[in-house]
């Protein structure tokens, strides 16, 4: 029932006042050093309050705070599966690779997934994935055998990435919330574009593309794969006739311009939730907004750490939610 989110949305609205604005980003950009940036973030309440935290620890703490807030607002995490599935699949990938290569899993798992990485490790070690959700178990079994028998790490990645995107699209559709379905579709389509461009540049076969591309409704996978097998110009020509026509131009510019374009499109999509007081959409938009500001801060911090020119940092900065 949509009324269930009225309390949660009101809290989100009040929390949105604490999101970084364009002025806050400018203030961070005006910091002369990496350390000054960290101090400014600490003054804004970022991190755990402990002194001398590393940048990664500060950003991880912010991600954790976001999810703790969402858990406080709702017990039903089903609408957030579109955001949690990529973390789970990333952890599954790490579990399979560490077990097959015999490496001790040390700091390879991302926090915040729905499935305990230890369970994934146990499943991979025993070769029995039945404890995982059905779709994930099937993909894990295929990926595990691809790596174990054929020693093909790329195929392992491709199988899991495709299964992840298909899972995201399915969760988006099943949620019945338009913003979730639109986000899932956009994530799947832009991922397909990235795969097609990389495959085209590295001369991959049609069979590889058919295996790697995940079904989505805004791209015709047959045409995309066929164009990617011919040339980059053909690929960009095909994209020009799709809702992702701008993507071709950004891709020609640079890969980071394309990544920024993808993130800005997602931001445009979720900004509509500012006017929605009743559904889960604003909660979802808040998580996206927090992730967006975390990635913006990460770009600034790594730019400051590597003493990059301000202009170079600025052209990578994402649009902000507020």
């Amino acid at each position: 029932m949509k009324e269930e989110y009225i309390y949660a949305v009101a809290r989100v609205r009040a929390r949105e006042l604490g999101l970084l604005s364009r002025q806050d980003v400018d203030q961070l950009m005006a910091c002369r050093t990496y350390e000054e940036c960290l101090r400014t973030l600490s003054d804004k309440g970022w991190g755990t309050g402990e002194a001398n935290l590393s940048a990664e620890a500060v950003l991880a703490a912010e991600e954790e705070k976001t999810w703790a807030f969402i858990h406080e607002l709702t017990d039903d995490m089903a609408p957030f599966k579109v955001l949690l599935l990529p973390t789970d699949y990333n952890n599954l990938k790490a579990a399979i690779k560490t077990v097959v290569t015999g490496v001790e899993p040390h700091e390879v798992f991302l926090p915040g997934g729905e499935i305990d990485p230890e369970l994934m490790l146990r499943c991979v070690r025993e070769g029995d994935f039945s404890a995982l959700p059905e779709d994930m178990a099937q993909a894990a079994d295929k990926a595990y055998h691809a790596l174990l028998q054929k020693e093909d790490g790329q195929m392992c990645d491709v199988i899991l990435d495709r299964a992840c995107l298909m899972g995201v699209v399915r969760c988006g559709k099943e949620s019945g919330v338009p913003i979730l379905a639109d986000y899932a579709e956009m994530l799947c389509a832009t991922s397909n574009v990235k795969v097609a461009v990389r495959a085209c540049k590295t001369g991959k076969s049609r069979a590889f593309l058919d295996m790697a591309l995940a079904p989505c409704s805004t791209l015709d996978l047959g045409s995309l794969a066929a164009a990617a097998c011919k040339s980059l110009d053909d690929l960009f020509g095909y994209l020009a006739a799709t809702p992702y026509s701008e993507a071709a131009g950004k891709m020609k510019e640079s890969y980071s311009a394309f990544e920024k374009w993808c993130d800005d499109k997602v931001m445009d999509l979720v900004k509509g939730q500012k006017m929605n007081p009743f559904t889960v959409g604003p909660l979802f938009a808040f998580v996206i907004a927090r992730r967006n500001e975390i990635s913006t801060v990460r770009i600034i911090l790594s730019g400051k750490l590597n003493e990059l020119d301000d202009g170079m940092i600025r052209e990578r900065l994402r649009d902000m939610y507020v």
Binding site: Y7, A10, R13, A14, P277
Partner: protein, 163 residues
């Protein structure tokens, strides 16, 4: 059945009108204040200093319940329950029922819609507390139609005795 005095039902229908006005207005307001209360609690959880502002916005959909009560009370004073004289014909009783319906129906519907406008205004106050004055206007516009229904119901009820 042929000897049944249909005119005796006049007071029953008149009382039904009073009950419906209080009942439907009350239901609408209870739903409305409940919805806005959730939003208000959400804002106060994050920023207790906004309590006064969001409380006013929460109460806006509560007026329809009061209007319904008023119409019910005025009707009771006209139809011989708390005063006045009981309607002596069936048609007069039906007239009281009809006179109560604007407040009953508009009260219930407008309370729900006003609650939605209030919830949105509470979100507005959460993000821009200095815009409280403007945020009051939007749900208050819905109130206009509850007041119009109240007026027509009162005018009708107080005039029926003279027919």
């Amino acid at each position: 059945m042929q000897n049944f005095d249909w005119n005796a039902l006049g007071v029953v229908f008149a009382l039904l009108g009073a009950v419906l006005a209080a009942l439907m207005g009350g239901i609408g307001s209870a739903i409305g204040v409940g919805l806005t209360g959730q939003a208000a609690a959400g804002v106060v959880t994050e920023d207790p200093s906004q309590f006064g502002k969001v409380l006013i916005l929460q109460l806006l959909p509560g007026t329809q319940g009061i209007y319904g009560l008023l119409i019910g009370f005025v009707t009771l004073t006209q139809i011989g329950v708390l005063g006045g004289t009981a309607p002596d014909t069936l048609s007069k009783g039906l007239l009281y029922l009809a006179a109560c319906l604007p407040m009953a129906i508009v009260g219930m519907v407008s309370a729900k819609w006003q609650a939605k406008a209030s919830v949105s205004s509470i979100s507005l106050v959460a993000k821009k507390p200095d815009q409280f004055g403007k945020s009051m206007i939007f749900p208050a516009m819905v109130e206009t139609y509850a007041v119009l229904a109240l007026l027509i119901s009162i005018l009708s009820i107080t005039s029926i005795a003279n027919i």
